[in-house]
């Protein structure tokens, strides 16, 4: 019985595969086929899914509302791991577990917002610069080069120091990170557009009388998108790490907002008495960054046939 099922399955599978191969497989369907079978992608995607749910509905994971100061008990500060406080309690006696859960929201928001902002700005400018070339390209590439010459953590630190701690928050952190990161997207988009725009199908579209806008959006953009997606996915994780670093340095997210970087900074001075309030947010930060980096790595393997 079991033997027959085993012998029966493989031909069916190959049959499906052949059917698939008959259809002209696009880069995207090919990549999706690869991704579904890639363990790195599945683990990364699973972690990201959990983190996103955690960011949207923190109440599902934690019975304590970390934003309610009444849940903190100063007399129970730094008590270590107990049945009530799984990850210990911090300097103010707040539950570290619930704070770590609630901290996911800001990290995810900053990561996604900064990624969207840099992709839209850098992508649009890169598309235009690569497509039109000549002086448009020269001007945009030079401007990008100027922004590119500033290391992003330093530049963001400078911008946030000027904005001031009183006005700092999610918006200013996203702004500071995006202002310095868009040139990277521009460069990659530009290079991809330049290789795409001289291909036969673009020439054909032009011969059929398509205008520049239509050619750019319908023919060039979809075919130049792959490298941009790879870089932006990886960057998402790095944005999250940068947010934590800036919050740690005191210029990013400010309390009472909850951010992992801020929690690390708060726990720092009493680190040797109680390691829990420092290392648990650090662990979650690393896992989050890891999840997005894994995702980006897998997407790159799937989209870049050269690396196979």
């Amino acid at each position: 019985m079991s033997d027959s099922t085993i012998t029966a399955t493989p031909p069916e599978k190959t049959g499906k595969r052949e059917q698939k191969a008959k259809k002209p497989a696009s880069l995207w369907s090919d990549a999706w086929y690869d991704l579904r079978r890639n363990k790195v992608f599945l683990i990364g995607a699973g972690l990201v899914a959990v983190l996103v749910v955690m960011a949207v509905f923190p109440g599902l994971f934690s019975p304590i509302d970390a934003y309610n100061p009444a849940t903190c008990d100063l007399s129970r500060a730094r008590q270590g791991i107990t049945g009530e406080h799984w990850f210990g309690s911090d300097n103010l006696g707040c539950d570290t577990y619930s704070r770590v859960i609630y901290g996911a929201r800001i990290s995810i928001i900053v990561g996604i917002a900064a990624t969207l902002a840099t992709s839209l700005v850098g992508g649009a400018l890169g598309l235009v610069a690569g497509f039109y070339g000549r002086w448009v390209d020269v001007i945009m590439s030079r401007i990008a080069e100027i922004f590119f010459a500033i290391p992003s953590i330093l530049g963001a630190l400078l911008i946030l120091a000027v904005i001031g701690r009183d006005n700092a928050g999610i918006g200013s952190v996203v702004l500071a990170l995006s202002v310095l990161a868009w040139p990277l997207v521009l460069r990659i988009m530009r290079a991809a557009v330049i290789t795409t725009k001289n291909q036969d199908f673009v020439v054909a579209a032009r011969a059929l009388g398509a205008g520049p806008g239509r050619i750019m959006l319908r023919h060039v953009l979809p075919n130049a998108l792959a490298p941009v997606i790879v870089v932006t996915t990886m960057n998402l994780g790095l944005f999250i790490a940068a947010e934590a670093a800036l919050s740690f340095l005191g210029v990013g997210i400010q309390s009472p907002d909850i951010s992992w970087g801020l929690m690390i900074a708060d726990a720092r001075n009493r680190f040797l008495e109680a390691w829990e309030p420092l290392l648990f947010p650090a662990l979650f930060l690393s896992i989050t960054v890891l999840a997005f980096v894994m995702l980006g790595d897998a997407v790159r393997d799937a989209l870049d046939p050269k690396l196979r």
Binding site: I150, L154, G155, L249, L272, V289
Partner: protein, 313 residues
């Protein structure tokens, strides 16, 4: 090559001007009166305000003020702190600390990164290769913020308490070169991962090249093929990466120095941000950005020297 050097130097000028202008614009072009900010809620004494405005050229148009700023930078004057000390005095001694730290990190990065990359490239597809790749993935994902505190706790405290080994100082600078060891590892972390991957791809590409196949075919010992032909040619992108990374590491030292309490310019930057001394912040960021740009410039010039195949028009 002489023409290339000149052209590359000339190209660096607009970038330098543009970058300094960007920093300047970020800091000084924002709305708000800096003197009022200095005074808080109190009324600013008009005579004092007048003197200060003239002293710091606050009444001049933006471009004129930018001109003063650039002129001051290139004559080594990075402005004054609010206490009236020149910002440049802050760099004394501290710059050396940051440079030492960045060099330590660079050394660790080069040894570990190239070593791991070699192993992975030579045993392509084996468990060692997979292991190295997984390790780099992990290394990229652990922010300095996390690795710094973990190593401080494990090497500095737990190791000392459990075994009595006190080899890894994890705070301050009292132990000479050993003080830079753990912070160097932490600072090098992410860069090690990138260098390992770069070494792996670069070496794998060279190993596929025709001249390597020819060398093997004519019966040259493998070790010699690797050292003479493959490694030497794959080193070029690695050296350029390492050179450019020095600037990045110096910029990244802010967090490492803060965690390990090292008295370098990174920690000074952190303190100045806290004390809201924007003039110091601008001075330090300007210097670090200049170091970054110069490091990239030198690397670009080195590239032409290292690789005679590249002939620049």
């Amino acid at each position: 090559m002489g023409r290339y050097v000149v052209r590359r130097l000339l190209q660096a000028i607009p970038v330098l001007l543009g970058t300094t202008f960007l920093i300047f614009a970020i800091v000084y072009a924002l709305p708000g009166d800096p003197l009022q900010a200095l005074a808080g809620d109190r009324r600013v004494d008009p005579v004092f305000a007048q003197t200060m405005r003239e002293m710091f050229h606050l009444n001049e148009p933006l471009l004129v003020r930018y001109w003063y700023y650039v002129r001051d930078i290139f004559s080594g004057d990075f402005g004054m702190t609010f206490r009236g000390l020149p910002v440049s005095t802050i760099f004394e001694g501290k710059f050396q600390v940051t440079l030492n730290l960045a060099m330590t990190a660079l050394l660790i990065e080069a040894v570990v990164g190239i070593g791991l990359g070699l192993i992975a490239a030579l045993r392509r597809g084996s468990w060692a290769d997979t292991g190295v790749l997984a390790f780099t993935l992990l290394l990229v994902s652990i922010p300095t913020l996390v690795s710094g505190f973990v190593l401080q706790l494990v090497l500095g405290v737990q190791l000392k308490l459990s075994t009595g080994i006190d080899f890894f100082p994890v705070a301050g600078l009292r132990d000479g070169w050993r003080s830079y060891l753990v912070p160097g590892i932490v600072l090098a972390g992410t860069s090690i991962a990138y260098l390992t991957r770069l070494t792996r791809t670069s070496l794998m590409e060279t190993l596929r090249a025709d001249y390597v196949r020819t060398a093997i075919a004519k019966g040259m010992p493998r070790r010699r093929v690797l050292g003479r032909h493959a490694l030497r040619n794959s080193l070029i992108p690695l050296v350029t990466y390492l050179g450019a990374d020095l600037g990045t590491l110096m910029g990244g030292a802010v967090i490492t120095e803060t965690i390990f309490n090292m008295d370098g310019i990174g920690r000074q930057l952190f303190q100045s941000v806290y004390l809201r001394e924007n003039s110091v912040v601008v001075g330090i960021v300007t210097v670090l950005v200049l170091v970054y740009i110069l490091a990239n410039l030198i690397v670009d010039l080195l590239y032409a020297v290292l690789d005679p195949r590249i002939r620049y028009e």
